[in-house]
Symmetry: C2
Subunit: 283 residues, 2 copies
């Protein structure tokens, strides 16, 4: 069992990780590749003290190197859901199930809006995880809404099992999509059906599908862990980065403004030490 | 008039300073030399991400260089008191009076205990500032309680104006003290007098003095600004590093545990941006 599972491999998550490791805890980070962090695209960062004039890419690579030097385990993979199990939590990481005593949310700023029908049909045709739910749609028609090139791999996998896959990219340049997939331009409007999903409505056309996969870099926090309290769309925390749920902490952009590297580093630092203190009380 | 006056030139203060400057505010930092920061003595710091394995001295010098490269003005000097003036604040920096629209407290962890009689006789024989109050004790006897070698310069100055100076060092090695000064070993117990100070009682002996100078690296926060709310001996702040007084922010060790560089950097970052947002509303 992991002591501290960290969701997100950006500045907050990595800062939390090194602080957990330095306190001899078993730590594991689950996240998207560093290039998906907002800071990665920054041309120049001057206000993280000690790294004057660095660009976001180099900054992220220094952070990742620091973490790796300290033997932080970073697993590339998306956390789909976190389940409370009493004294610990269970994470579904792309259908691999991982137990952790504490969890630090460092999953960044969630820009996603929720589609009409998305909540209603979640688990009834709407899915966030191709690997998890793809087999349920064998020989059926599905639509995939992807917000970055990282969604294409999942879509290609679905094309292997499903009868027909429509792909709705929410970005410009498609990188590597199987020929069998039909790319549909348009803005998703709503998901329709009765007990189960029947159609996806776009502003351009309507698709007859029995599954809608929404493959975004960030799963909305409310979907990740039921019962986690938000405030102004951010995870509500106190000064010790504690959330309303025991053993659950949050750090970085997911806790709200300002969206800054320094803040993220500091919050990761505090969240990890608070988790360590909670772990000591568990014993 | 300064936009943001920062009390303390450690990690929190310098992080706040670069964030104020980057937002085009007129910023000035008042503090002790970098070597007085707790972190300066650290042999090795591994948990400030991006600076693996650095020692405290090098870390502080990187922080100071970063701030100087960004034209942050750092004035070595002790802030004695902060006075609310309505829409702005007045700082007494060793008897130089400085106006600022906002103030960020980054004055570190105050380890000082208050002597019996210290509060009672403050301004009636008890002083925290040799430069300010020395002339009042011309041709009289005074005692100086110093908690570091930095107090010696003040004591030497007092020896020039006073009839007799007793020096009670709260540390081991005296560096450079005038021959005229009488060093007294002992632990200060209480300050006695009637309307004015008459005696300083130590566990070893008693001194007949009309002034007691307490020259510590940190002046207790409660003395610095009357009305500032504390919680567990730390400055009480919310998640935006706002205190109970408008235009007053705090960051770093002075806001309480954990005493960590990462936390200090993050809080300095947030405090400065919140001050900037307040300054924009002032206009």
């Amino acid at each position: 069992m992991i002591d501290i599972a960290i969701i997100g491999a950006g500045p907050a998550g990595l800062s939390a990780a090194i602080n957990g490791v330095i306190r001899n805890k078993k730590v594991k980070v689950f996240g998207n590749p560093p290039s998906t962090s907002y800071i990665y695209k920054a041309e120049r960062v001057d206000n993280y003290i000690g790294m004057l004039g660095i660009n976001g890419k180099d900054m992220m690579s220094e952070f990742v190197n620091h973490a790796k030097e300290m033997n932080v385990e970073i697993q590339t993979g998306k956390v789909i859901e976190v389940f409370p199990m009493g004294e610990y939590y269970m994470l579904n990481v792309a259908n691999e199930f991982i137990e952790a005593k504490t969890v630090i949310f460092a999953n960044g700023f969630s820009k996603g809006t929720v589609l009409e029908g998305e909540n209603e049909f979640l688990g009834k045709g709407v899915s966030y995880c191709a690997t998890c739910d793809g087999p349920l749609y064998r020989n059926r028609q599905v639509a995939v809404i992807g917000d970055s090139q990282y969604a294409e791999e999942d879509t290609n996998y679905l094309a292997e099992v499903c009868e027909k896959v429509y792909y709705i990219p929410l970005y410009k340049e498609i990188a590597d999509l199987s020929a069998a997939i039909e790319v549909v331009q348009g803005k998703p409007k709503r998901i329709l059906g009765e007990q189960l999903v029947r159609r996806l409505e776009l502003d351009t056309r309507e698709l007859e599908v029995s599954g809608v996969f929404i493959i975004k870099e960030n799963i909305p926090t409310t979907k990740l862990l039921k019962g986690l309290e938000l405030e102004n769309k951010a995870i509500k925390v106190n000064r010790f980065m504690e959330t309303n749920m025991k053993g659950i902490y949050a750090a970085g952009d997911c806790t709200g403004r300002p969206y800054q590297v320094g803040k993220a580093i500091g919050e990761g630092n505090v969240a990890a030490l608070q988790a360590v203190s909670y772990l000591h009380k568990l014993k």
